[in-house]
Each structure stands twice: as C-alpha cells, then as structure tokens.
C-alpha cells in the first residue's frame, strides 16, 4: 500500500551474553500508515526500545537482528549499508528520545545543530537553513526563536529541549517519527503540551508516528493503533478502542486493572496486580511467556509456542489459546 510508511515483518533480536543467547525480541510484525499513530506499550524489559533501535539499525554491535522485511515508504531498507542508513536517519526517519539532554550535543548551540542537519540532509545554505530552523522552532511553540537558536542545550528547560528535539526531527520532513518515551522525563503539564504538539504536527505533515511508552494513559489519548509487548513478543494488538474497550490478552487485562483511574476506580480499594516476574529470555523458551503469571494457565499453555490469533475479519489479535468467546466469559 502506498500509504504504508513502515512495514516490519518477523523482527527478532538476539543478544549474546556470557550466560547464553538472550532472545530479546522474538518474531514481531509492526506496520504504520501515513497519519497513523502506533503505540508500542509494555513494561521494562519487554523489548520495545530495542525494536525501535532495530528499525533504525542502531542496535549495539553485539546484537543480532533478523528480519524478513523492513520497508520504509515502500522501499526496502533491510540491506542498507551504514552510510545509506545514516542518510535516511534524520531525513526520512526521525527519532525522539526520552532524555533530550543526551541526544542534543551540549557543546554546540541549537542553531548550529539544526543548521548542520539541514546542510547535511537537504543541502541548504546557511542562511536558508537558519531561517527554516527559526520557523520550525516557532512552529513547535518556542517563542523568541532567534535567541533560542543561539543558546546551548543546558540553558533550556526539559520541556523546551524536547520541543527543540521535535523541531530538529521535523526539519527534513520525515515520513516516519519514532518517539521513545518522549514525555516520561517531563512534568505532567508539559507532557500534555508535547503530546498535543506531536499530534498536531503529525497530522499536518501526514507522517507515521510510532510512540513507545509504558504509560497506558498516553496510549489511550494519542494512539490510533496499539501493540502490547511482553517478554519480547507482541501479545495483543488492535485499534485503540479495541484494546481499551475490550482487552483480550490476560496481560493486557492485568495491566488495565493495575491503574487507578480517577472517577472509575474506587479510592482506597486495592488495585489489581500481576503477580510474578518476567521470565528469563536467555536460551530456548517454549510456550506462553506469561504462563507463570496467568490466572487461566493450563498445561497446554506451556507445551508449544502460541501464535497471534484473530477472529475472522477482526483487526484485533492476541496471543493466547483461549478463544474469543471463552475470553469474553472470563474475568
């Protein structure tokens, strides 16, 4: 489909450790279309950040990436060399990280870094580049843009820095933006502003947006589609309404029960919880990875790997042997 900005098929990431091979990500498929926001949600260690690094080919050297398909705006970038990847990173694919202080070079001014990006990727001259940079800063809501261009990252607050990051990412009008926990380190009020900004810019530039987060509230408000990751696999995916109105996978359901919602959960009542811990992914693992923590586990769950299942015609799929009708009956 010409609207498909990113198409990833069968991504696996293995990391060799002293104690064995860590199968950090195991055969996941993700896709994003123009104007769509895919939220990858999961807890620490589920592999969501590694997935985004794999798409950008920024995995640590030791990591082994295996993919059947990796298409960006219809063109395969699976076998791109480092030089080719470096050309599209920052121009066709933008990335926004959690901590803008580490992704902005503290030794150069904002203006310097933005102009450099434009010179490199769009071959612009200094004057034109600086002008575009200024307009982009204004677009992301930064006042006194001229002065900001002359400032260094440490002179800006966290929220401002993240806006600068977004502005920098947009400079080359990328097809796809991957944002990894872009607002986790920010204050709550700033978080809302940054997310609103991202949403507005996404629709204006008709980009695909992948937003990685552990915060289900963020997911609910900004996502078009959701992929829930657990222990290196996607355990459920669907539209945002499907996931929140009718979560199928026991892990998704468990997560939903853990969160207090003002107005919905009764204050003082115990919150739901998911007992146990994520299993070790070192070495071969057969069966459902959530088995040890699941209320509905049976022996069959441990015997063979579970595939994603979807009811016919449904866009929501989940990785469990219990079928939809049974799942509807179960708590």
């Amino acid at each position: 489909m010409s609207d498909r900005v990113l198409d990833v098929k069968n991504l696996s990431i293995d990391i060799p450790l002293a104690e064995g091979m860590l199968h950090a990500v195991d055969g996941i498929d993700i896709h994003v279309d123009k104007g769509e926001t895919l939220c990858i949600v999961g807890e620490s260690g589920c592999g969501k950040s590694l997935t985004s690094l794999a798409v950008m080919d920024l995995l640590p050297k030791k990591a082994i990436r295996r993919l059947e398909r990796l298409d960006l705006a219809g063109a395969s970038i699976l076998d791109y060399s480092e030089q080719q990847m470096s050309d599209i990173r920052g121009s066709k694919m933008g990335m926004i990280f959690q901590e803008p202080m580490t992704s902005l070079n503290p030794a150069f001014t904002i203006g310097n870094q933005m102009v450099e990006t434009l010179q490199r990727h769009r071959n612009m001259n200094r004057v034109a580049a600086r002008d575009l940079a200024k307009r982009m800063l204004e677009k992301v809501g930064i006042t006194a843009a001229d002065q900001r261009l002359n400032q260094y990252p440490h002179q800006l607050s966290g929220g401002l820095r993240q806006r600068v990051m977004i502005a920098m990412t947009l400079l080359c009008e990328p097809e796809l933006i991957i944002a990894d926990e872009p607002t986790t380190a920010l204050d709550v009020t700033i978080q809302a502003q940054i997310l609103l900004l991202l949403q507005e810019l996404q629709s204006e530039f008709d980009m695909g947006l992948i937003l990685i987060t552990h915060d289900l509230g963020v997911v609910a408000r900004i996502a078009t589609r959701v992929a829930v990751m657990y222990a290196g696999q996607i355990v459920e995916q669907g539209t945002v309404k499907q996931i929140f109105d009718n979560p199928m996978h026991p892990y998704t359901r468990g997560l939903m029960r853990c969160i207090p919602v003002p107005g919905k959960t009764k204050p003082g009542e115990p919150l739901g919880s998911i007992p146990g811990m994520v299993p070790s992914l070192v070495g071969k693992f057969t069966g459902c990875r959530f088995a040890e923590r699941c209320d509905h586990v049976t022996d069959a769950c441990r015997q063979s790997d579970i595939e994603l299942r979807a009811e016919s015609g449904e866009t929501q799929s989940y990785r469990c042997i219990i079928d939809a009708k049974e799942m509807a009956k179960v708590a």
Binding site: A192, G217, V218, P267
Partner: protein, 325 residues
C-alpha cells in the same frame, strides 16, 4: 478529633546560588511561607512539578534539612528540640529510586536492621527476629535476608526500603514518589501494600507524587505547590471534583486517563517556563494562567482558608471584581 502529627507554620527555605565568580549570589526560594497541618491517619499528597519545592519541604519535615524561617512541630514537639534518635522513631522516609536508596554493599538484613542498631538494640537475635517479621509484613521472602540489593528486582527493593522505614514502627512516613520508578504492574502492588500497612500500623503518610491518578486513589488530602508556595489544599474528592486554583485545574486536566475517546487536553498554559531563581512578580503563576487579571502581575495573592479548603489566588480572595466559577 485526631491528634495533629505535623504542624508546619510559615516554613521558608532559601538556598544561596552562586552565579559564578564575579556575579555574586542569588537567593533561590525553594519553599516560601508554607503552612501545613497533618492529622493522624491522614494521607496528605504533596503535588507539584519540578521546582515547586515539594521535595525540599519533605526533607525539612524529615529533619534532614533545616528551615530558614518558620517552625515545624512533630507530634506537638518542635523538630529542633527533638533529639536525633527520637526524630528517627517518629518519622521515616521512603525514597523514589529503589536503586539508590539501598547501600549496594550491605545485605538486606543489615539494611533493614540498621534502624534498630542505631537505636541501641544490640542483641542480634532480637534484631533478626524483628527484621524477618517486618520482611514478612511487606511481602519479602525470608530467604532474601542475606541477599544484596542488586540481586533483587525494583519492586522487591522498594519493599526493602519500606521495611527499613517501618522496622521501628514510626508514626509518620514520608514517601517521595514511592512508585514512579517502578513498572505499572509492580506499582499497584506497592500502592496496595502501602495502603494496607497504613491501616495495620495506624500510620500517617505524606506522599509526594506527580501522578495525580495515584494521588486520587490513596490520598485523603491534597496540597498543591507551585514555585515554593502552597497554592491550594483541600480534601481529595473536593479538590478533584472542583479545583479552584487555575494551576490545579491545568494539572488535573493534564492527567491522561486511559480513556481513548478523550484525546489530549489543551491546558492553555503557554510555552513559558518558570525560573525558580527569578520568579515572576506578583502571583508566581500569572504568566501561564489562563484566567490572569491585570493586577495578578503586581500583587501577590493573599490566601483564603475556608472550611478546611485553602487557596491562594486573586480569583478567590475577594480582591477581584469578578469571581470565576
């Protein structure tokens, strides 16, 4: 009427910030004229964003930092008069980061047992027994007694921190973002634990959190801070249902609940960000206020304390001609 556990009056804490060799010093008013009262069994939530002073205020109440002016009384006694050991028996902290709140070179048993040893208990059998009892209370398996912190998960470490705080059965516990650094599925366990412990041990909590959903769930009263000042305080349900101060409103609007149809709110706060060293004139919030009035920039608002509800805003202190909401 419940006993007053914490009575803070007009607490101010200033820091001297050096602006470089030749530019002299500037005053950072981290906490400015805060009055706070906490009764037994209450859970008071201190909310606010970075730079609001909530952590500094918590440290003052814990006795870890002296106030510049003002007084703090714990259980009727001035904090300055309380000897170190008695202070430790009265009030204890639980910190945010389970990875930096435990000494990596000590065993779990040693960490939890420290408060007892400091209080003078020498018999190791007594210590071990009480430590194991407290470990059980917080849901830690006894076999972790000789483990080291880096062998435990984040949730387990936080339980160790809770056990350490509770081993001497204090009256007041100050929790600084007790679950922010934890995964969602672990957060709920720790929150449930904290609630159960409060009932079981008859504790009084001060909870610092930026997560308003959590606050709404476990706090009885909420105090909102902005740039060192207390701008609003009320019972939780009253505050959440009918916030007065525009900042509180913006804060509550910013809470992203997992409800897909609601989209992302526009809090109208503008892009300027407050600088604690050089705060705005008049009402510190006025540059970002959606309901700002001309005199907000000139005079600081006086406070209005009615029916256990405190708010510091020109809209509510009868100074203004109009009354919003």
């Amino acid at each position: 009427m419940s006993a007053v556990m914490i009575d803070a009056k007009n607490v101010t804490r200033n820091f001297s910030i050096s602006r470089g060799m030749f530019r002299g010093k500037q005053i950072l008013r981290a906490v400015s004229g805060v009055d706070l009262t906490v009764k037994k069994g209450e859970v008071l939530a201190l909310v606010g964003e970075s730079g609001c002073g909530k952590t500094t205020l918590a440290k003052i109440i814990l006795g870890l930092l002296p106030q510049t002016t003002g007084s703090v009384d714990l259980c009727g006694q001035s904090i300055m008069d309380l000897p170190r050991l008695e202070l430790a028996r009265t009030i204890q902290p639980i910190f945010q980061d389970p990875y930096s709140s435990l000494n990596p070179r000590k065993t779990i048993g040693s960490i939890i047992g420290l408060p007892m040893r400091v209080q003078g208990v020498e018999d190791s059998v007594t210590i071990r027994r009480k430590v194991e009892k407290t470990m059980d209370l917080v849901g830690l398996a006894a076999r972790h007694y000789n483990a080291y912190p880096n062998q435990l998960s984040g949730g387990q470490r936080q339980r160790v921190a809770i056990a350490r705080a509770l081993v001497n059965r204090p009256q007041i516990v100050v929790c600084d973002e007790p679950t922010s650094a934890l995964d969602v599925s672990v957060q709920s366990q720790i929150l449930n634990l904290l609630t159960d412990l409060r009932k079981e041990l008859n504790l009084t909590y001060i909870i610092i959190s930026h997560n308003l959903a959590v606050v709404e769930h476990i706090a009885t009263r909420v105090a909102v801070m902005y740039l060192g000042r207390l701008v609003e305080e009320a019972e939780t349900s009253i505050l959440f249902n009918n916030p007065h101060h525009p900042y509180t409103r913006a804060l509550l609007e910013s809470v992203l609940t997992p409800e897909p149809d609601l989209g992302i709110p526009d809090t109208q706060l503008g892009a300027s960000y407050p600088n604690p060293i050089d705060p705005p004139s008049g009402c510190a919030f006025h540059p970002r206020c959606a309901q700002v009035m001309p005199h907000c920039a000139m005079t600081p608002p006086s406070s209005n304390n009615v029916n256990g509800r405190f708010v510091e805003c020109h809209i509510y202190n009868g100074d203004s001609a109009e009354n919003a909401d």
